[in-house]
Point group: C2
Chain length 429, copies 2
């Protein structure tokens, strides 16, 4: 328990980097606050004598060599947060990963064992995508599903590129990416299921189908005082109707099977006395099935066209960031269930509506994704909360899963064990 007490101390220490007044953190990707948490991660690795590498998209790897030359099983998540986000989202997984690795390393040393795979802990760059869209950027570049050169050019709303931002905090690295044999991530659920059912651990079986719509509403700029109402082509009025349609589309489906929203919107020229000429917004659609996402998309595209006609305004809609359902390997679920059972923790299978770095990693290596309960199911906000006790339950299970994976528990290439149908859906996104 001394070891795990160290985890809690570290967890609450990291929560001070970018801490907000109301118990949250604001530690967006490649900001000075993100740098503080990165420096802490590097220091942790150094103190343990682990090798630190930072790659050319800002991913940080703390690598432990127990079996020279063997590939690594990585544990981790991300230390960046949403603006005024919570302390738990991402950070829990990285810090739990560091302590799980430390626990495993100590046990290996104590027992004089050499594992089949080396361990490593990863802090992925820009999982949140709040400052630089799209989200899950670092891990997606790592697995090759996003183009690095393109991502380095992505700009935030102030026009700073990813490359410039990483350079400015000293984390645009050149380190070689480790060869990876498996990946395990633990995260808060960000939903109410585990809390409601009073279950310690969720083993994630699949991720929802998600996609975004990039919507550009092109009206005509004019004077808010001098232009007759009938003569206007107000992009903001049309955009407001689009936003309400995006919100309302969920009502066409059975409850809880789909979510839809607009979270980002910019307005030009955004002057109090000028009718807007252009509104750019991003709609987020996520559902349990690809069919429902496509159906919601179909309804919206029809409704958006009607809004454009009504206002004599052009509205461009483009698909963006499509992520097909990803099934996690059954062997990983079974491993998590065995570990939980051995440790006396309750566990259930659960889907994830949110995206995670593990969704990217699951494309290339056997991956295990674990959840712990979130109080009230809230996330991406300051009152996001999980208890110390729940975090410790999760750390114990992650430690055991990491131990087993380093000894090859999933080495029979779990990717090949999955049904072909599921796998095909998982990799075509």
């Amino acid at each position: 328990m001394t070891l795990n007490q160290g985890f809690l101390t570290d967890f609450h220490h990291v929560a001070e980097f970018g801490a907000t007044d109301r118990n949250g953190v604001d530690r967006q990707a490649a900001t000075p606050e993100d740098r503080l948490s990165r420096d802490w991660f590097a220091e942790f690795a150094k103190n343990e004598g682990w090798e630190l590498r930072v790659d050319s998209i800002g991913n940080m790897f703390a690598l432990i060599e127990s079996n020279p030359g063997a590939p690594h099983v990585l544990l981790g998540s991300h230390l960046d947060s949403q603006p005024l986000g919570g302390r738990f989202d991402g950070a829990y997984g990285v810090i739990a990963g560091l302590h799980a690795a430390k626990n495993i390393k100590r046990r290996l040393d104590d027992e004089g064992l050499v594992p089949e795979f080396n361990l490593g802990v990863v802090n992925w760059f820009n999982e949140e995508g709040g400052r630089f869209a799209p989200s899950i950027m670092g891990s997606s570049v790592f697995v090759g599903s996003m183009d690095e050169a393109e991502m380095l050019k992505v700009k935030d709303l102030e026009g700073t590129t990813v490359a410039q931002a990483l350079e400015s905090i000293g984390y645009l690295g050149k380190g070689q990416r480790p060869e990876v044999a498996g990946y395990a991530e633990i995260h808060i659920e960000q939903g109410r299921i585990l809390e409601r059912e009073q279950i310690n651990i969720g083993a994630v079986d699949y991720s929802w189908h998600t996609q975004k719509l990039d919507i550009e509403v092109l009206g005509e700029q004019s004077h808010t005082g001098a232009t007759a109402m009938a003569d206007r082509h107000d992009a903001l009025v049309a955009a407001s109707k689009v936003i309400l349609k995006v919100h309302d589309v969920a009502a066409n489906f059975s409850e809880g099977s789909i979510v839809s929203s607009v979270g980002r919107m910019t307005l030009e020229p955004n002057s109090p006395i000028v009718v807007a000429r252009r509104v750019h917004l991003i709609a987020d659609l996520r559902a349990e099935t690809k069919h429902d996402v496509l159906e919601a998309r179909r309804i919206l595209i029809e409704q958006i066209a009607a809004i454009g006609e009504e206002h004599e305004i052009r509205i461009n809609v483009q698909d963006f960031d499509v992520r097909e359902i990803q099934y996690y390997p059954v062997e990983g679920l079974e491993l998590a269930e065995k570990s939980a059972a051995n440790l006396g923790k309750s566990i259930r299978r659960i889907r994830t509506m949110a995206g995670h770095d593990s969704v990217a990693m699951n494309r290339i290596v056997p991956t295990v994704m674990l959840f712990i309960p979130s109080i009230d199911g809230v996330s991406h906000c300051e009152r996001e909360f999980s208890t110390d006790e729940d975090m410790l339950h999760g750390l114990d299970v992650l430690t055991d899963v990491g131990w087993e994976m380093s000894f090859g528990a999933l080495k029979e290439n779990a990717l090949q064990e999955r049904s072909k149908d599921e796998y095909a859906q998982g990799v075509t996104a």
Copy 2:
């Protein structure tokens, strides 16, 4: 006509400062582009041998001393523009003012006359208010209806203050404000009336009653993917309903008697995968009567409260920038009508829906406001247009009005001649 040809050359030259691809200008207050137009104004005054003063809110005065110690009749408008605004709004009035003053000065010299009042030309700071709200800032500070210290602290969306921005372009002056005996301004109509009726000049008899509503929608930040639709308090959805209500409220009144819109809106955190916690927007209400503005405001406040209840979201609404109807002095209208008649130009009385620097000046000195036709009535956009011919008609009338005012045409203090009721409405804003 040689003189007026000089006007056209200058007008089209100034349109190059901040010129956009589509014949507009982007010359927002205290930007490098605004500085170019200011340097040009200063150079014009210097070449004519006129005194230049820049006051502590960035207003520029080019002063001609023909009668030592006498107060000045000012001609002018503003050289700043909206983002992607038109070439005519404001700039026409300043450049016409410079050329009218030059014409008058030459005639005074030719005829060896000394006027009762000196002339001057003014370029008011930040009439547009696109970058720094509220609009009509420089002239309002000049007349004492806005507080200078407070205005210098106003920030743009990037956090730069008015004082910093003026300092950065070298136009935070210390010049003494001239004593003023009268004011005349010429401007594009920004509406369709003169064009439709094929009339050369509008003599503005009153300005509409206007006010803004500062609306803050306070929801709760949460994850767009992981938060159930029913658990959300989405500030953007509620704000979209508010925007539509603001737009629709005009339909409760007779056509053309009111305009209402939202032109500015900011969203927090504005992240693609986060449900918005706060939306801040500014609604602009303008009507022919104060009664209608107050009635629209009453309806909106009721509807906004209902939206807040429906979404369990707090919505704060505050009155802001209230401007009562201002009547321009009848003697000024008559002077304009006489000048137009003498010059063979058609003229009619017209109200202004848009605010102008003359609305501020009209509070303290006899003021004349003139309009020329706007093609299609569009303004605050790149396709804003008035013909060279119409601009020259206006310049002729402004020159004559300026001449008459410098000889005391309105000196019997026209402010006192107005009916007391009208005057009372004009100064209580």
